[in-house]
Symmetry: C2
Subunit: 509 residues, 2 copies
């Protein structure tokens, strides 16, 4: 290695207006202003340019001398033509396992439980295995491969580690495909470089802490936008984020670990680049990742749960649902082919669970109510088609959400994001969104939803408030649920656990 | 200094389920799960707790032995009672100069020009001078004190610098009140520590790069929210951000330096904590900062211009306008006391300039049109009063923006933020927002607004589109402006400067 230490602004102007430029901090800005306010600067510029002795470099016709031109490298050796600087040229498709083989068996909605990211880990394991020879797939994450439950990956590979090892070290290897170090900055930078040079990968992070690389994400998204319009630039693999250990799963970490706002940050970037997915269960998560790992030149943000939770869709249903990106769940709705009284929409794993639990309460206590359940996997479906390539047409949106019925929307993130995406929709005035509103502490999983009024009881109460036709029955149910919330308050303080009826709740088909 | 290197999980369980815990990475998580799935763990816990030999520490009644209790410090020496850990106890008000003395003389709107942050620098200089003895005010910023034009500060203080100096170093001093180093992380951390221990300060940054500390801001905002509810915690000085060199002033830096989204990130935090200001001129900027430096326990984000630009309000007018936070500019409106045909709203220095230039075009070409100009300094005025303590009542909002007339809103940041804040307002359906939409490059200042359709010509065309009554005259004007945009396109490519009619435009009173 040769280290060259050169003066800042070397070969630039030595002094300007009596101040030293070359070799000082002043060389950082614009050392020579060429305008009416700076007479004499044009002469300084001429002097400086002549100091390079152009008469020795160019012939009389102004052409670079041939013997000098020959010094420059040719073909791919030219800096601008190096294929490693145009990674799409080197990009090889990943050898993809069949994600359907990893499907969780779901005989009927809600009948089995699984930990979504654990299932995904088995899929990633196979991706790592199948691409071992190609050596073009890596998982990057600050100490979170196990914490986000991608354990299975370590069955076939290890953490890349080139230094000494000690007793008790686990999963370290000089040729591992998992990169771990407690620095989000390091990972974002490494992953971007890995993608830009024609490889594939993903960033596996705690949801709240991905904000650490907000600014780095910005630059990569801007780069993708600009290079999309440059014909000689080949597309590269997408920048994929897996955000687990999310805001609703921070039981023992608490308020500091709760921030679902990375997607708010992401959607400010160009719609042609950004994609956001919130799969409600493991089969949807698999279908989404199969797509993300095959996609090009996007930023894909996927938010997923890591704890055991009810599974809703069979693999066939999941593939259909994720391909559509949004849809009515007929098995959870009782509006038949008619207009519903209310649309219960949900986006994210925990909001989906709470919505279905709310629907089961409505079914029991207000069975005459026609409820439609709509689940959103692909968040950008909510935006108008004019704003985002994934956006639903107004006709399609209105068909799902109606033009005039109340919508109770349980959302994974900050509620304002849903309003931001849907304010142009016909039925926006009837849209009522629940989500994270910066209320949280170290408490039970269910209590987190209660603190933010995203829980099943609040969702039912919201519904009753917007449906005066529920009358006395509605008022009675509302009172029961208010009492239930009080019971919950007392119970978790006494036992440190959620009430059995919460822990043991099951969807009845 | 004593450095103690201890095993991770020292004095915890040595082995659990056959795996070493103490001294290994495993001590980081929950080493002992006490539940039905882990029989034997309760015994391990008991064994571990007994290893501390409680019988030597407590008497028969379970009280800590007196000679041990006496070892602990008392009063303010207790860690939890150390006043430096409850900085509000130590907080002394800043000695404040009269900001009115720094006023720019504005005989009539638009008649003089000034560089807003340069004027602010003179105010900060006096704050630094007046609090020199108290030693409780610092300006933090990554190499941007001069770049953001706070030059005057260096008349009375320097950059804090404890290492060796060299020839050509400028403004370095072992007792400077300005902290500079090219690390936003360092500054955010230092400033937070400075505030938490009872001092005052501000973070002076390029707008786009403040995203670097998004995650750190999160934690401070959460801390402010939680401690607001703890009675023994005294309030501390606000965390103040000055974001200059903003998205519309990146002529020679370009697309990488354009991101007005920090405020989108900020407004997701608790409304009781966050405040966002976009003063349209120097006098407003002074009035806002006088407030910010006196305020407690907030996060104040202030966005300001650094280049010479027209000044609109006298100091008396600025104080009234900033106290209200939002208001009709009567001198720029021609709707008298009647309902206008259109509301031209603006928020931010460049959008205000473009809006006024658009109004002057409308006045000349469509003089019969009744135009109301509304300027927003305090962004949170837009939100309903139920959502933010600064939010306007619906009555007040409707009186300003009407309930049914088109609103053409020129906004400094991403347009969706204005929709997010106003979607509940009666006239939201008529609100048309222009702002930054991720279009930019290294170009002229005016061209940046053209690329994002925030310029005077687009604002006039937007107005005509929403006012069919402008008829043939409107259509003709629209065609003229389309031609004008084409002229602009050609002119800047030829001369590298904006057209003279842009550079020399003046508001005519």
């Amino acid at each position: 290695m040769i280290v060259l230490s050169s003066p800042k602004g070397w070969t630039g102007s030595k002094f300007v207006d009596g101040l030293q430029i070359e070799g000082t901090f002043r060389a950082h800005q614009v050392p020579l202003q060429i305008d009416d306010d700076h007479p004499g600067h044009l002469e300084l510029l001429e002097e400086r340019l002549k100091s390079y002795r152009p008469e020795e470099l160019f012939d009389e016709r102004g052409r670079l001398l041939e013997e000098l031109a020959e010094l420059a490298p040719v073909g791919e050796r030219r800096m601008g033509a190096n294929p490693h600087a145009n990674g799409g040229l080197l990009l090889k498709d990943l050898v993809m396992p069949d994600f359907r083989k990893h499907a969780v068996e779901v005989p009927a909605p809600g009948t089995v439980k699984a930990a979504d990211t654990y299932v995904l880990g088995e899929f990633f394991r196979d991706v790592a295995k199948l691409n071992r020879k190609q050596r073009n797939f890596r998982i990057f994450g600050p100490d979170e491969t196990l914490s986000n439950r991608l354990n299975a990956v370590f069955e076939v590979t290890n953490r890349q580690w080139d230094a000494r090892t000690q007793d008790n070290d686990a999963f370290l290897d000089s040729d591992g495909r998992v990169m771990e170090m407690l620095s989000e900055h390091q990972y974002e930078g490494w992953l971007e470089g890995y993608l830009l040079t024609g490889r594939h990968g993903l960033f596996n992070s705690y949801e709240a802490f991905i904000h650490i690389i907000d600014s780095m994400f910005n630059q990569h998204a801007k780069w993708l936008k600009v290079t999309s319009g440059i014909p000689w630039r080949k597309k590269i693999a997408s920048l994929n984020y897996l955000l687990a250990s999310h805001v609703w799963q921070q039981a023992h970490n608490g308020f500091t670990h709760q921030d679902p706002g990375f997607i708010d940050h992401v959607v400010n970037k160009k719609a042609s680049i950004v994609r956001v997915y919130l799969p409600p269960d493991a089969n949807c998560l698999l279908a989404v990742w199969d797509h993300c790992l095959r996609s090009r030149h996007y930023v894909n943000v996927v938010i997923a749960g890591k704890y055991k939770a009810p599974q809703w869709l069979s693999m066939d249903e999941a593939v259909k649902h994720c391909t559509a990106g949004i849809g009515k769940w007929h098995w959870a709705s009782n509006d038949g082919d008619a207009e519903p009284d209310v649309v219960m929409a949900c986006c994210g794993d925990v909001p989906t669970l709470e919505t279905l639990a709310a629907v089961s309460i409505l079914r029991e206590h207000l069975p005459e109510l026609k409820v439609r359940v709509v689940n959103v996997v692909d968040l950008m479906k909510l935006q108008p088609a004019s704003e985002h390539p994934h956006g639903l047409s107004d006709e399609h949106f209105d068909a799902l959400f109606t033009r005039d019925k109340p919508i109770i929307f349980a959302f994974h993130g900050y509620p304002s994001l849903v309003h931001q995406l849907t304010y142009r929709r016909a039925n926006h005035d009837n849209l009522h969104v629940r989500g994270y509103k910066e209320e949280g502490t170290i408490t039970t999983t269910f209590d987190m939803t209660v603190l933010n009024e995203l829980d099943r009881y609040h969702l039912v109460m919201d519904t009753i408030d917007r449906l005066p036709q529920t009358g006395d029955n509605g008022a009675r149910l509302k009172q029961q649920l208010t009492d239930k919330l009080q019971e919950h308050f007392v119970y978790i303080r006494k036992y440190g656990l959620d009430m059995p009826e919460i822990l043991n709740w099951k969807w009845i088909n």
